[in-house]
């Protein structure tokens, strides 16, 4: 299978990329390409131009500025996994990245592509919602920022406007916390049948703060606010966890596809939320 014809550009700067994107009729930016190229082979998308971001050095790298970790959009999953800065500050990113696809795909697949693609099966969006990350966006006229929690509008629909490019992800580094990303998949390399990201802070034996987000259990990643609220202020016991799981299940609206029926996916979705909460609590206490 070969994609349809397109013009190929390999700009050296974000400004040049934005200009090329604006000039093209329906061009797309190419990051790792491991979602886009398969879609192009299937003619599910037929962009007239590809603007390859691979040569833009400014889009790579991970750095800590103050209380935030800033990750360039073209940073690969492999680079995330190799980063001591990520291991120390945001270990949930390691736990998530290692579950994405397979080694070859992780060498090429980028965090920017993962968060900006808008596929409900991508893993990083829910994690970014749980972490309350902010996406830095370059555009044809001016740069702007959008919160991960306000970015996802529908399946493959995001807050990105025509001509805009996600350039970096800014994540507030949480203090001492417990975390977990629990993902059910049919085989290595598959997207989630259901997955949950959980961050928990304990104080004096009670849950002081909590964020829960869900992957592939609705047309967009979901921030499970009521589920988190069911835990905050309570002791981390079975009753509180059951209430949180029930609240999370209530907002799930999974697709009926080859990964299972909605009823099945809501059932296992709840189980994976429960597992993630329990593991996050154990880590927060440890």
């Amino acid at each position: 299978m070969i994609p349809g014809t397109f013009e190929y550009h390999r700009p050296k700067s974000v400004a040049e990329a934005a200009k090329l994107l604006r000039k093209s009729k329906d061009g797309r930016v190419l990051a790792g390409g491991h979602s886009l190229l398969p879609m192009m082979k299937l003619r599910m998308t037929e962009p007239s131009a590809l603007i390859d971001l691979g040569a833009i050095a400014a889009l790579r790298g991970i750095k800590k500025t103050g209380t935030k970790l800033v990750i360039g959009a073209m940073t690969t999953q492999h680079e995330l996994l190799a980063s001591a800065l990520v291991a120390k500050n945001l270990p949930i990113l390691h736990e998530t990245a290692i579950l994405i696809a397979d080694p070859q795909v992780r060498y090429v697949g980028t965090i920017g592509g993962n968060v900006a693609n808008g596929d409900p099966g991508n893993d990083m969006p829910a994690v970014m919602m749980a972490l309350d990350a902010t996406y830095k966006i370059a555009g044809p006229t001016k740069a702007r920022v959008v919160k991960a929690r306000a970015f996802y509008k529908g399946s493959y629909e995001t807050a990105l406007k025509a001509g805009e490019i996600v350039t970096a992800i800014e994540i507030p580094v949480p203090g001492k916390h417990g975390f977990a990303y629990e993902k059910l998949k049919r085989k290595v390399g598959d997207y989630a049948t259901a997955a949950a990201a959980v961050l928990i802070t304990l104080k004096a034996g009670k849950i002081a703060a909590c964020a829960i987000a869900l992957t592939n259990l609705a047309p967009t990643p979901l921030l499970a606010e009521a589920a988190a609220a069911a835990l905050v202020g309570r002791a981390p016991d079975d009753a509180a966890i059951s209430a949180a799981v029930a609240a999370a299940r209530k907002i799930m609206d999974p697709a009926n596809d080859t990964r299972g029926t909605p009823a099945y996916r809501k059932s296992v979705g709840g189980i994976y939320v429960e597992r993630a909460i329990k593991r996050a609590i154990a880590r927060a206490a440890g």
């Binding site: 349809g4 397979d102 070859q104």
Partner: protein
Amino acid sequence: MSKTHVKFKLNGAAAEGMCEPRTLLVHFIRENLSITGTHIGCETTHCGACTVDLNGKSVKSCTLLAVQAQGADVVTIEGMANADGTLGALQEGFRQMHGLQCGYCTPGMIVRAHRLLKENPKPTDEEIRFGIAGNLCRCTGYQNIVKAIQHAAAKLRGEEYLEAAE
């Protein structure tokens, strides 16, 4: 659609050709350059038969454009033999431990294992299985592939391979 001049290093030697931007790297290597050791399996990023080493990373060459390899350092199965033409450690390992039956997945397996052993010269069996998770084999059940890679790892470390008791 106009063609682009693509040039990169292939198994240590300069390689070049003209292709459309939509030409996949695996097609460019096999059809333009006539280096056919790299196999096309699923062509959908799943099977790993088309794995090549690109700038020190294992990649699936069915999901990269040839133009993306411009200026890169590419190594395929043809680059796995020793300089004198004898079998490289991984090739020898696959031969000794019967790491293949039909052999279709083998070029991808060996090129992937090459990078895996560069990054982790003394892997556990589990680390090997995790490291080759992007390569599918429908013949062997992987047992002998893991042994073949351990055989090569031992040889590269200058040790004798001792098969673990089953």
